[in-house]
Amino acid sequence: MATQVIGAALKRKEDPRLITGEAKYLDDIRLPGMLFAAILRSPYAHAKIKSIRTDKAAKLPGVVAVFTGEDFKDLPPLPCAWQADAGRIQNNINTPRVLEIDRVTHAGMGVAVVVAEDRYTAEDALNLIEVEYEPLPVVVDAEKATQPGAPQIHANAPNNICFDWSCGNKEATEKALSESDVVVKQKLINQRLIPTAMEPRGCIAQYLPASDEYTVWMTSQAPHIMRLLLTAFIFGIPETKMRVIAPQIGGGFGTKIFLYPEYCLTVALAKKLGRPVKWMETRRENYLATIHGRDHVTYLEVGAKRDGTITALKVKTYANLGGILSTIGPGIPTTLYGRMLSGAYKIPHIYCNVLGTYTNTAMVDAYRGAGRPEATYVVERAVDLVARELNMDPAEVRRKNFIQPGDFPYAPADNLLAGLKYDSGDYEKALNKALEMVGYSSFRKEQEEARKQGRYLGIGLSSYVEICGAAPSAWIGVSATGQGWGAAMWESANLRVHLTGKVVLTVGTQPQGQGHETTMAQIVAEQLGIPVEDVIVQVGDTLGTPFGYGTYASRSAAVGGTAVYHSAQKIKEKAKRIAAHLLEAAPEDMVFEGGRAYVKGSPDKGKTIQEIAAAAALGYSLPPGLEPYLDDITYYDPPECTYPFGTHICVVEVDKDTGEVKVLRYVAVDDVGKRINPMIVEGQIHGGIAQGVAQALWEGAVYNENAQLITGSLMDYAVPKATFFPKFELGSTETPSPTNPLGVKGVGETGTIASTAAAANAVIDALSPFGIRHLDMPLTPEKIWRAMQSAAK
């Protein structure tokens, strides 16, 4: 039997239920006697709650109960895991409550809840609740929030500063800048995005009083973490009293990692009312109250020699955290941003200072890429600015500064990465391949010709490196040297080979569309030499899966997949011992290969994994002292993160009359290490490119001067459609990660991380004849048209 399953573009095992409507997402679940909760949200972005009258709503037929924050005063505010300056800030300060009690800090915070027999009635009753607010002044901008006279949101955070965090070496960087031939300064705005997973968030909770147990269904990327936070931090009960189930999840992109007030509320309601309760948000609520991403105001200074060698990078960033803190909000613009600012380059000195600030906006936390797209945008814009300043080819400046293959493992300068090292790479190879695919040199001639005809073509490069496979627990967690995330980040895999040789694999990771039921099965099938069809991957139930930290940060293959690999090795070792016993051979003489354990040198003398599984399960004839059954588990803590890289190139044309940008071509060469299933890998890259290009050209969350979200629906927020893109052209290089036996790096976010800078650089390149050096995203027709008009004057 062929065992080359890793690397095969197999069709996904999960698809039959998804293409037929058989899959059960959260809103598809209905329990007997279930009630429906609807939440009244604050129309004001910053206000005191003076009074709430619920009596009219409570009298509406079909309404079972109406509650306000006063009714949940006994429950603590939600935890924020990232404790700035470990210990200085308590983990539940400036975080949301189940329902807010006396004050709201952004529009859309929950202030009351109606529970009714059906959803229509619950929504009707919301209109009958009367709330008296005292509006307070608001601030929206992350930088303006720190300036004198800005409205103060939290008494414990003067100037709205949550944290003042730095990495790198300030003195050395400033000295290097002062000695540079050129220094380019630029302000960059990395605008706020609304992640927009197609399935909004929801929760169903059931409480059984006799056993004092909860079952909670939740749209979650990390059900084990949810159970931990709900039980230990909110309800103060043992985790054995709660089971969390993540049903089919319709996309997450980070938003479904976190503990949200509505989840806690739904659980509390189920207990209070003694009936199952469902809460399912609308898209409007999703835009108002689910986390947003990005939202940085950055000032960069980059120094270089005349020959294009970069000498130093100094970055100051105001990172918007929102009105209150989400579960790991402060960890994103610090660990995952500042520490990645060396990009793919040997920059001798780097310094980054981040002020995390409160504003009257929705919580900001991890959105696809989480910190790395922001870092890549800064670095890749900086490289292009240097190229422009020195009148050099942007590809040449990249080449000149790349970390070289012989430099790995590579620690970025000034201990930027706090002890970690880039694992492996060949950055120039990926760049060269991408340049070749796009036909770079001939494009430059075409561009020149087009300009003569008044057509403005542009090409943009983005040579990225990112950090995946989070993470060595001692590095990420709270310890003397840790990053302060208050969490470990190992993963688990339990592999059981049943009597017939069929395998059930349970894991602690939690897919939301990534296809783990296929890729994890491929790892098992390859290792045990069995058909992929014989492997069932079970996820999403804290009762049936080992503890794990969930799926985000492109970590599931590198960390979870490695746990699966190690469990398979343990199974093979035991299988060899059983086979040796059955064959009356010495265990050390056995080889496991192609689904069989056989005696070294005598391939015909062996037992199949199915025969061994039967023997192990029946237990009639096992070596003395060996337990029955093939069943093993691994808890795998990675020694190092993984560092995918590559070069993306975007080609655009800007219409000089309308400012409209058309994406003509998009080439991506990604090195994500070994590819378990290339079809799935490419699908991940396609989707990532779409989201990243969308940031450069179309998407942006906009709050007005009253801190009202005016991009509050899919009518107003520019999620791209099929017509927005050309066919993406994908290439690859493969540099296996030396940090794990599978050689995988991670692919969930590469597309998003790389593509924003590629598209933005392309537009700026197209506009270079106008003398335009930089424009902030999204690069909408109006913005471009205005810039061209003022440049022409």
């Binding site: 293409i19 598809d28 927009t196 997973a197 079809m679 099929a722």
Partner: protein, 156 residues
């Protein structure tokens, strides 16, 4: 006041008393338990709730159940026949035209309608035909490939 409606869904006629404001998507999901049709927005942008009504793709969040009275509706659950996948369903599987799957039922129904109207669409016509449906996972590329694949597989 409730209204009596008779709607034929996937070949079976269902008669129910419904509120005049009830959306067709809620009728399908809550009254009939056909939860394959998803709800992804509240402004008729996303297309996750697309179904065929009298053979034409409609967003079932923009149709009232009372408007569908007397109509024949096909949902994702009604596409496969005799447990044999519809060619469009098969093409989505074959070409990896889905990831999280939430937009997929609406997307598949839209493609069925598109290919009914235009059995051999160009790539541009396909992308234009998908404009009423949002997918956040695939960047649309493999959906377009799936449509091409289905067009080849289907008798014109």
């Amino acid at each position: 006041m409730k209204h009596k409606v008779s709607i034929t869904v996937n070949g079976t006629t269902h008669t129910r008393e419904v509120e005049p404001r009830q959306l067709l998507v809620h009728f399908l999901r809550d009254e009939l338990g056909l939860t394959g049709t998803n709800i992804g927005c509240d402004t008729s942008q996303c297309g996750a709730c697309t179904v065929l009504m009298d053979g034409v793709a409609v967003k079932s969040c923009t149709v009232l159940a009372v408007q569908a009275d007397g109509s024949s509706v096909t949902t994702i659950e009604g596409l496969a026949s005799d447990s044999k996948l519809h060619p469009v369903q098969n093409a989505f599987w074959e070409k990896h035209g889905l990831q999280c799957g939430f937009c997929t039922p609406g997307m598949i129904i839209t493609v069925v309608d598109l290919l009914n109207r235009n059995p051999h669409p160009t790539e541009e016509e396909i992308r234009h035909g998908l404009e009423g449906n949002i997918c956040r996972c695939t960047g649309y590329q493999n959906i377009v490939e799936a449509v091409k694949h289905a067009a080849e597989a289907m008798p014109a």
